[in-house]
Symmetry: C2
Subunit: 344 residues, 2 copies
């Protein structure tokens, strides 16, 4: 069948809740270590070097599109890149390690300067990816949300419950608030640089918002996220917000004024659609581990996902979290193809 | 005021949903590294040695009761102790490390034998703690639930999303099922040994159940938990089930047939009480990080918690997770005292 819409139109329409033939499909962390062609490129450059080289970053971003024909290209970068450019001593081993975490008010002065500069290679990678792809394929940019950036900035290695940041909210709430305000600016600068470079859609990763109760989320992560949104240009591409383990925050996220909420695999998609109504479209949310199942099972899960997504205002098919390192290639292919063949 | 009930009666009544003057209060991991007297004892014995020495384990268990006058003594042990006794090469560095994780059906044969033997020191510690405390103070025993035991058993170091176990449920569901059945037996043997030793209350830690969607929970963690419960003696002490990040599983946990569901700090206690009705009592759920706040703030939070708990069938005041290592002693004291002064 001939597609009624280009992948770019389909993606934008799904985000805004307009009618489409089928959900667009892409995968969080689709450019990554599970791809042999990614591992080959990474033999000559470290992770941070790869992020900071526009040609390499653009090339890595295109790899999953070439292999699987996914409906969107998410730019290869890292949410911590702007912090690395602002005086945080950042390394990947392979998880992020911050040698000089923020513990006191004086440490905040370290975060002077503009995140836009640190994001220049990513912005340039977006331009090059757009050139390579032409106008029909959407390019997705992203940033860390303030709470999640603050979580990484306050600990050498992130603890499971964000001990440093969460205890700061109880012990020194004013300091936590100042830190989150600064992170809100950095998050907005990061997104704005990518808007200027031509990103069609933007995703805010508030990966760690789920550790907070609704009340604490409103007081800290939520109000900081609203500051970020208020700092964005009035005319901006659709925004997706992702939070992990955040089923209890769904109504809050849907009330932020973004176009799409991205669900993790634990939240039932059909129930979530009922809870948020017409306020937002939903993205997600196949269990990333389901890609280890036999392809026939994956196709069945993909069809169930597409069916459940019909209850939402709009649906962007995706995983409930990033692709993991040992994911079989045929699992990813089965998922992408099954969604793309679901056109009705 | 004179107490109408002994701490033991108050605890048992709260678990069963009978009227009490105020909620009993204890803290998960109340015997631990934040206590100077614990650190002093640990200078002469490793963590595993301490668990395996009944005198030392009993003494450590009593420390928080002596210092804070908590309403219950939870026995000092570890949920992985039975696995260490059944051929899993277990160390604490300080988090658990399993040198020979279970990856295939053949590995299951390693788990031969009875968990009761491995739990003998814990059972003996319960007897000694009961002797020291007399009949009025309840002693709480505990075990890991099958899903959580399986999570630790399948990875050298537990990954955040239990990659090994969760991918096994998709790739080899029959193997996952066999593993969980074995873990269900181990869990039941662990509890039964503690019942025989005189534990007044038992807690099942399904710390990692929250990574599963409701549907996957039913298929794996939930059905294994039911197997454990079916293997317990018909006459048994009240059971508490704890799961972390499991707000979406609340109705499922409340339907298991246990007396108490222990909430993590993210779930609103009053809302949870409404959701479960008269089926179970609730335990919890102050944010462990709240103990870093100034004592006056902690007292206010404790009073709010007790108020919210009045909506439940019964309420056992506790944290939403274990006490963390750097928790200030005065924070713990403020919480315990505020709950104990809340009698109405």
């Amino acid at each position: 069948m001939s597609a009624a819409w280009t992948p770019c139109e389909r993606m934008l329409r799904a985000c805004r809740g307009e009618r489409v033939d089928r959900p667009p499909v892409w995968l969080m962390r689709q450019a990554g270590r599970y791809l042999p062609e990614y591992r080959a490129l990474r033999e000559r450059a470290s992770f941070l070097e790869s992020c900071r080289d526009p040609d390499l970053a653009a090339e890595i971003s295109l790899q999953p599109w070439r292999r699987f024909g996914v409906d969107a290209v998410v730019i290869f970068s890292d949410i911590l890149l702007p912090l690395g450019g602002l005086g945080l001593d950042l390394a990947f081993q392979p998880g992020p390690v911050v040698a000089n975490p923020i513990r006191a008010a004086a440490d905040l002065e370290r975060l002077a300067g503009s995140a836009a500069e640190a994001m220049a290679p990513t912005a340039e990678a977006i331009r090059r990816a757009r050139q390579a792809l032409g106008p029909d394929v959407p390019v997705i940019g992203f940033a860390g949300a303030p709470w999640t950036l603050a979580a990484y900035a306050t600990e050498e290695r992130l603890s499971r419950d964000l001990d440093a940041l969460v205890s700061m909210t109880w012990r020194e709430p004013a300091l936590a608030d100042r830190l989150l305000s600064r992170m809100a600016e950095i998050s907005a600068e990061t997104l704005t640089a990518q808007i200027a470079a031509g990103a069609h859609v933007l995703q805010l990763f508030d990966t760690w918002a789920g550790v907070l109760s609704v009340e604490r989320w409103r007081a800290f992560a939520g109000s900081a996220l609203q500051r970020t949104l208020a700092l964005l240009p009035a005319r901006r591409p659709p925004l997706i917000v992702y939070a992990r383990g955040a089923g209890h925050l769904l109504e809050e996220l849907a009330g932020l004024g973004v176009e799409v909420v991205s669900l993790d695999w634990r939240t039932d998609l059909a129930e979530a659609a009922e809870r948020v109504g017409a306020r937002v479209s939903l993205q997600g949310n196949l269990d990333p581990a389901a890609l280890f199942a036999p392809p026939e099972r994956i196709r069945a899960e993909a069809r169930r996902l597409v069916d459940a997504g019909r209850k939402a205002r709009g649906h962007v098919a995706n995983l409930g979290h990033g692709v993991t390192q040992h994911t079989p290639l045929e699992g990813v292919a089965a998922f992408v193809t099954a969604v793309q063949e679901s056109a009705s």
